[in-house]
Symmetry: C3
Subunit: 197 residues, 3 copies
């Protein structure tokens, strides 16, 4: 799913097939890569388990051929995408916990795994990252991370915990898109003459 959004971004900017592949890889694996680098788990995951590369690679021809169809399936893409980020969040969180770091760091790394692939993609194609503007993307991930961590503390049913966290992420994102939630930036007015130095 992340690879698809990478290919879409590539298409929009008229990249060639190499550029599109690079973007697909970066979007799909960038968040987890950044997490691995920050927590010191190098060589990063996709270097030790070839399945990551294979999965992205297999998705590429599908993206090229069916981009037209895919872009009509917005609704189901949104579903898969949300499941994707929720799973990335949980996996990133668990991995960071496993090497003995603090829970709050683990939650942050969960969110980083989920959203920074997209951030790197946006930086590479010279867009201001989406996450900084409208989407309640990171917030939903963080809520999911919170729910997952505490349910793991108090409940022995791993599968249920994952399912509940997934649901939390999905509900928040769904509601956010449906009702066009935006998190307000700043309650106080600023004079217009204000300029950053």
């Amino acid at each position: 799913v992340f690879a698809i959004s990478g290919v879409m971004a590539a298409k929009e900017h008229n990249f060639d097939i190499v550029g599109a592949s690079v973007l697909a890889f970066v979007t799909a694996l960038g968040g987890g890569t950044l997490r691995d680098v920050l927590i010191g788990q190098t060589p990063v995951a996709w270097m030790r388990d070839i399945n990551y590369l294979i999965m992205v690679f297999l998705s590429l021809p599908i993206c090229y051929i069916a981009l037209d169809t895919i872009s009509r399936l917005r609704r189901s893409l949104f579903l898969f995408d949300t499941i994707g980020i929720a799973l990335f969040t949980i996996l990133g969180l668990q991995k960071t916990l496993d090497i003995g770091l603090m829970p709050i760091i683990a939650m942050l790394m969960g969110v980083v795994s989920a959203v920074f692939g997209g951030v790197i993609r946006d930086v590479l194609v010279n867009d201001v990252p989406l996450i900084f503007r409208k989407e309640v993307y990171a917030t939903a991930c963080f809520a999911g991370a919170l729910v997952y961590y505490f349910s793991q503390l108090f409940s022995p049913y791993h599968f249920v915990n994952v399912a509940v966290s997934l649901t939390v992420v999905m509900v928040i994102r769904y509601l956010a898109v449906k009702r066009q939630w935006e998190i307000p930036f700043q309650p106080l007015e600023l004079p217009k003459k204000y300029k950053r130095r």
Copy 2:
């Protein structure tokens, strides 16, 4: 102080509160994070010592509420900012020396600690990094690093050495802003028809 400049950049680009927080963290911790990753000290510092996160987090509400007031306090901000980068430079330098790398590398890593938080912030919001244009920012840091390193070699008074290095950074930056120093790029004229391939 770095968090403030992150929030300011966020405000200027109409980011939501999540984007502003991310930018504040990145600006404050990005330089040190990059240094830790490059010198192989992972998990990076703010993952092992929660105080980093707490400090940035506590500064956030202050930034939101008082951004208006803060932007009027340019003069004192400039002071704190300069102290901040000078301390970051010295800490980064010392940390790199401590793991046994060469002095020149340590000085570079000091400068990286101090200035790359801002570079990453600028890249994320799609500005050309300030450091590449006018400010004698990196130069002042490097001068401070040089002074600190050699004073440490020849003088046993750690506190004095830090104070002297701080002063050097501050004086250079102050003079640079006051007299609008710019480091000339290129003494020879280039034909206008020149274009990068």
Copy 3:
């Protein structure tokens, strides 16, 4: 050669001398640095072997003084640049193999070593990376990596293998520029109304 292209980008964007130096370093050493970070070989190479820094540093005054002349020598620059990326590819590949990672990962890391210095340069100066648009740059590197890896498997003559791989990279790039090859992105038409979410 990479340093030169960094300085050129700096000139084009009216950076000062510090910005130009930073860009030169980043372009020359960025790809290898990213590779080292990803494969977990930190502190990165140029921190352990001062010769990297010295070489870039020595090239800087030459760039400043002779940028005018250099920009006229397009043809030979192209030659050196191609030799440069081919060598970077082979070195990156070999280094990754040496720490026991898979051949396909090693080839990718070879390409990363060769092209990501330029990608980081473009991101810093706020251009969409060249690699995403026209140049058959990454493709040539990957072909060279492939040839090198398999020739190493079947032939004991290291020097010959390097020479053959070099030639492959050069021929592909030369032909690509000569005949204006572009890798087609997408064989199927997409409706113009398509927009990325």
